[in-house]
């Protein structure tokens, strides 16, 4: 099985295999081209027969010595007019038979595939954008809700700050009053001590006076 040792080049259905410089990548490039050239046929369809070879030229009929003048029929006139009409397109039509046409078909199929892929990616992108949009809307609603909640909390906070300020003033006043009371207390204490000393002096004087009166 497969005993033949290959060498040189082999061409199978337009795909060239170079056994001396064998490269799968190069074969696959050709395979892809061939695949693009021959599109998928429906299961029932039969492969088109290859184009018929050009008919061999008929041997010229023996020319009559004097060609009889013949009037062209309707068929000949239509053919003539048609051939004149398509003459400007003749180079393009000739291209159809050249490999360039196959290249164009291959490229066309490739472009078709890429376009389909692009459409698919575009659809996916649209779906993803829609999803992002929905998420964004949801997030925006959530953000609004949070903002409202925050406003309420800020009002509470302002009120609390006012209370704190009032309490602070109250504290301050209390400290001032307490300080004043303390000073007054100290003054009264001094005055009490003086009165106490005055009373002691008066008591001693009283006792001296009583002694003198008794003696």
């Amino acid at each position: 099985m497969d005993d033949v040792k290959p060498a040189g080049k082999e061409t199978i259905e337009g795909i060239e295999i170079d056994y001396d410089h064998f490269d799968v990548a190069s074969i696959m490039t050709q395979v892809k081209r061939a695949a693009a050239r021959r599109p998928v046929e429906p299961l029932e369809a039969k492969p088109e027969p290859p184009a018929a070879p050009p008919a061999a030229p008929e041997p010229p009929a023996p020319a009559p010595s004097i060609p009889p003048p013949s009037k062209p029929g309707l068929k000949e006139i239509v053919k003539l007019k048609l051939s004149r009409a398509i003459r400007p397109f003749a180079p393009v039509i000739r291209f159809l038979g050249l490999p360039l046409h196959e290249e164009i078909l291959a490229s066309w199929a490739e472009i078709g595939r890429i376009s389909r892929r692009q459409d698919e990616l575009s659809d996916r992108l649209d779906r993803a954008l829609e999803k992002i949009d929905r998420r964004f809307s949801d997030s925006a609603a959530e953000l609004d809700r949070l903002r409202d909640w925050l406003d309420v909390r800020l009002v509470d906070l302002d009120r609390s700050m006012e209370y704190v300020k009032l309490l602070h003033n109250l504290d301050h006043n209390l400290v001032v009053e307490l300080t004043k009371l303390r000073i007054e207390f100290e003054t009264l204490k001094s005055r009490a001590r003086i009165l106490e000393k005055d009373l002691e002096a008066q008591t001693r004087r009283e006792r001296v006076l009583e002694k003198r009166l008794g003696s």
């Binding site: 033949v4 259905e13 295999i17 990548a25 395979v31 299961l43």
Partner: protein, 391 residues
């Protein structure tokens, strides 16, 4: 050096990718280290229900300690949670709930790692997405090496995995693509990690004729090996293959080896053979025109490596970056991103014996350069050597 391999399931009957990878790595590294395996009693990866007896046993010379999973996974609840965390805004708490349901939730296993952590030099955890790796790595981060076996699925983007990927001392990646993906997700460029993968053993005498005779397959065939389910690229492969038959009139058949959880179309060119012994699998592979890998998610396709080891070409799904990357690096396979590319690639492979041979030879060379067991073992040793040399 004492090294523990920690994995969700372990056993000779278990053929899941990461579990088989772990068993092969443990068995090969036991030539260099004292290896033990810490695992659960589970056999079924859907529920993790206890199946194997608790305690110790020896499998192919490796001591295996099994721990119970007291709360099996409820697939319905798990599905709901997964849909929720993948589609809805959620918290890290929700992700942890998902992990609890993802399982296999084995507190005894975790307790053992915490209590006996000092007895081991390193713990090699397999599969980042399971409970045992998440909590195990958090328990012994300075001794943890992670083999993530990560695919490009949605859960890798969960937030809590970003932190997890920064915790281990080192990574053992399966492919360049896996490393790029994990570094892109977590930015863990500072955590050392080698691309290692896993080796494979191919029997010497694969006999394709025996396979053809046994299963009465008399035409060229493409082979798929593995589970047949949606994540593996079905039923897309059925659609592509049947359309290919109609479009080209090819006589090729499609041979499927592996258990199916999907209905398989009843078609004379599709041969569903179910589970087959290893020898039959390699016989089939040796006779296939190509291996088909339609999977969307792979961290490393072992059957792809086996196909290359046998010199067979591969046709892979280009949507799986790992498979495409391997085909490009090895020059051992073609790949397709849609039906026209499938048709053209398959036509090319079936039409050219020279192409099949060259792809297969390139694949074999790639396998021998990167995935023989000597090379894999050396990379494991190198990973640990680097950690030992760290200040």
């Amino acid at each position: 050096m004492n090294v523990a391999f920690v994995v969700q399931r372990y056993g000779l009957e278990i053929n899941g990718g990461a579990e088989l990878h772990c068993r092969w790595a443990a068995e090969h590294m036991s030539r260099h280290w004292n290896v033990e395996v810490l695992t659960t009693r589970a056999h079924d990866y859907v529920t993790w229900a206890d199946h194997y007896p608790e305690g110790e046993e020896t499998i192919n010379g490796i001591r295996v300690r099994r721990f119970s999973v007291p709360r099996p996974r409820d697939p319905e609840r798990f599905g709901r949670l997964q849909n929720f965390i993948l589609e809805q805004e959620h918290t890290e708490r929700d992700e942890l709930d998902w992990l609890e349901e993802e399982g296999p939730t084995s507190p005894d296993l975790l307790d053992f790692i915490r209590r006996r952590g000092a007895d081991y030099d390193y713990f090699i955890f397999f599969s980042y997405r399971y409970w045992h790796s998440y909590w195990g790595i958090r328990s012994v981060p300075r001794k943890a090496i992670l083999v993530p076996t990560a695919e490009h699925d949605a859960v890798i983007d969960l937030k809590f995995f970003k932190d997890l990927f920064r915790l281990p001392r080192a990574f053992i990646y399966n492919s360049e693509e896996e490393r790029e993906m994990i570094q892109a997700v977590s930015g863990n460029h500072s955590v050392p990690g080698l691309v290692v993968g896993v080796g494979t053993e191919v029997p010497a005498g694969a006999e394709p004729e025996r396979f053809r005779r046994t299963h009465a397959i008399d035409r060229p065939y493409l082979l798929y090996l593995g589970r047949i389910d949606q994540n593996k690229g079905f039923p897309q492969l059925f659609d592509y293959f049947l359309q290919f038959k109609k479009d080209t009139g090819s006589d090729a058949g499609l041979v499927l080896i592996g258990n199916s959880i999907l209905p398989i179309p009843d078609h004379p060119d599709i041969f569903p053979l179910g589970f087959q012994p290893e020898q039959d699998k390699f016989d089939a592979l040796a006779g296939a025109e190509a291996l088909i890998m339609p999977s969307f998610f792979e961290s490393l396709s072992m059957v792809t490596l086996e196909a290359w080891a046998l010199g067979r070409p591969v046709l892979a799904n280009a949507r799986c970056e790992v498979l495409q990357g391997q085909c490009r690096r090895s020059d051992g396979g073609l790949f397709y991103g849609n039906y026209p590319e499938f048709r053209e690639s398959l036509k090319l492979i079936l039409a050219s014996a020279g192409l099949r041979r060259t792809l297969g030879e390139n694949g074999r060379r790639y396998f021998e350069t990167h995935y023989t067991w000597d090379i894999i073992e050396e990379k494991y040793l190198e990973t640990v050597r680097r950690l030992e040399e760290e200040p």
